[in-house]
């Protein structure tokens, strides 16, 4: 017994597509009438959609946030209570110095997770499905980076909360803290392009993590996060002062203390521009080659 399906009365009759159209266009023309077709997603809306997808991952795997905040929390508690008195003279003095630094360290460490997530998506073949969608090509990368801004916001808020609990009282008040947070979010966004490039260039998630840690650990520890560079040997002092992490920490400390230094903020801005200009196109070229 055969069943015949009638076309719904309201849908217009399908016109045969003009000759000369690409095969995919001809098929689309037959399947969906031109007036029924949805608008093609703009670059911005496509990026936001992929950003939303990145946020869903945090919702379903909240432990990824726990993983990256537990280490800085342990470092904060250990450096404050065990080493703080010896390094800063007193715990209360040292907290004022340490918290802005740890705040920077937390967000910088989280940036590598963007790369790890992208690497996982690639190895699982999710990007093969995305490739077939009629959207702006870089949207998947930009979206992932935008979604991660929320992750940075959450982790940063947790760290600041712990700082306030430990007695951190910034002179810059709410405006200073908000300005520092904004500056750090911009820097984190710029830095995450580095790990995007790394994750696209290496094969496995472990390799991506290894490279990220190999770069991040020396950068964060050979900086002014924990101690004033003036107390270091002169040969190390020079290296610490040109370290981009130190530049960001200095700017964040100043903003949190209500000092709005154009040179410090400008230097961070320059670092951001260099990172995006170098690693943005590099990420895209590797991404286009891979997909």
């Amino acid at each position: 017994m055969t069943t015949t399906y009638a076309r719904p009365a309201e849908s217009p009759p399908t016109r045969l597509p003009r000759e000369g159209l690409a095969e995919s266009e001809r098929i689309r023309h037959v399947l969906v009438a031109p007036q029924d077709r949805p608008e093609r997603a703009t670059a911005f809306s496509a990026s936001l959609t992929y950003g939303w997808r990145a946020l869903q991952k945090i919702k379903h795997l909240p432990e990824q946030l726990f993983d990256v905040t537990i280490f800085p929390i342990m470092m904060t508690v250990m450096f404050t209570f065990i080493f703080g008195g010896a390094i800063g003279g007193s715990v209360s003095n040292y907290v004022q110095f340490l918290i802005p630094g740890i705040f920077v360290q937390t967000l910088i460490m989280i940036t590598m997770y963007t790369g790890l997530t992208l690497n996982k998506d690639f190895s699982k073949g999710v990007f093969d499905r995305f490739r077939s969608l009629p959207v702006w090509r870089p949207a998947q990368l930009v979206g992932a980076l935008l979604g991660d801004q929320v992750r940075y916001l959450l982790a940063g808020t947790i760290m600041l909360g712990i700082g306030f609990l430990l007695g951190f009282r910034p002179d810059g008040g709410l405006i200073g803290v908000a300005a520092a947070f904004l500056l750090l979010l911009i820097f984190s966004f710029s830095l995450s392009w580095v790990w995007t490039t790394v994750s696209l260039a290496v094969r496995t998630e472990q390799a991506a993590m290894g490279v990220s840690m190999f770069v991040l650990m020396p950068l964060t520890f050979a900086s002014n996060i924990f101690v004033d560079p003036q107390t270091m040997p002169s040969w190390l002092q020079g290296a610490v002062e040109v370290n981009p992490v130190s530049i960001v920490v200095t700017a964040v400390r100043e903003l949190m203390n209500g000092v709005y230094s154009a040179s410090s903020i400008g230097l961070v801005g320059l670092c951001c521009l260099v990172l995006i200009a170098s690693f943005g196109p590099l990420s895209m070229s590797i991404y286009n080659r891979k997909s």
Binding site: V227, M232, P233
Partner: protein
């Protein structure tokens, strides 16, 4: 059994490499990055730090026994050993002695690194023998505690968690900073926890300073720990594989 673990060591030298890596990083970090900001009385900070780092490295090596014992339990290799005509607790003693040997290797490496970064011990031969004996007791007792934790743990994750408790103990001691600089609430814990007298004794002996009561405190602590952990671990092992 000891030979089995020495074979493991020669086949996987990364076991020692990874255990030495963290103390090396800590030594360099505290020597050059934080050392200038920390002031200690009577000696330079590197002389204060190096004995503490020795204790940290031996702690890391001893606590690796937790995972080693746990993996033996999981992999079923113990079931094969049970069928052999040998002393049943030899599996545990093999792990313990291997940990002490690894600790000896770490000791030599860390002393060498310490000397490279400016550590200048002033103790005589007797003091060195005393310091080595103290570290041996510490490594031996801590390895038994680690083995006990390895037997208690039901999974690798559980074993890692228990090992982490032991690994953290030298950080909350006098290994890196003088006890006087720690806030009063925490100071009582840092002062009276079992790792602090070991660090203080080894430091005093290597620097040729008077030891005071810390040596007796360390001996009492770790002999007591050994007297509890060794029979308990052996009993637990026998009960599990009787």
């Amino acid at each position: 059994m000891i030979q089995r673990h020495i074979h493991h060591l020669t086949r996987n030298p990364d076991q020692i490499f990874t255990a030495i890596m963290l103390p090396t990083v800590m030594l360099l970090l505290f020597r050059y990055m934080f050392g200038g900001a920390i002031s200690v009385s009577d000696t330079s900070y590197v002389n204060f730090l190096a004995p503490g780092i020795l204790v940290v490295s031996i702690t890391l090596i001893s606590t690796s026994t937790t995972l080693a014992v746990q993996s033996d339990m999981q992999e079923g290799v113990v079931d094969r050993f049970r069928a052999m005509p040998m002393f049943d607790a030899a599996v545990l003693t093999g792990h313990i002695v291997a940990a002490v040997i690894r600790g000896g290797v770490a000791f030599v490496v860390m002393i060498g690194l310490g000397l490279l970064v400016g550590f200048r011990p002033a103790g005589g031969v007797l003091e060195w023998i005393g310091a080595i004996a103290m570290l041996l007791l510490f490594a031996f007792a801590l390895s038994w505690v680690s083995a006990l934790f390895g037997l208690i743990a039901k999974s690798t994750e559980g074993a890692s968690g228990l090992a982490l408790i032991l690994m953290f103990s030298p950080y909350a001691s006098s290994a890196f900073v003088p006890v006087e600089t720690v806030p009063s609430g925490l100071r009582a814990f840092v002062e009276y926890q079992p790792v602090t007298p070991v660090v203080d004794t080894v430091r005093a002996l290597l620097l040729g300073e008077p030891v005071g009561s810390s040596a007796w405190q360390a001996i009492i602590w770790w002999v007591a720990v050994l007297a509890i952990a060794a029979p308990l671990a052996t009993r637990l092992y026998r009960r599990r594989f009787a």
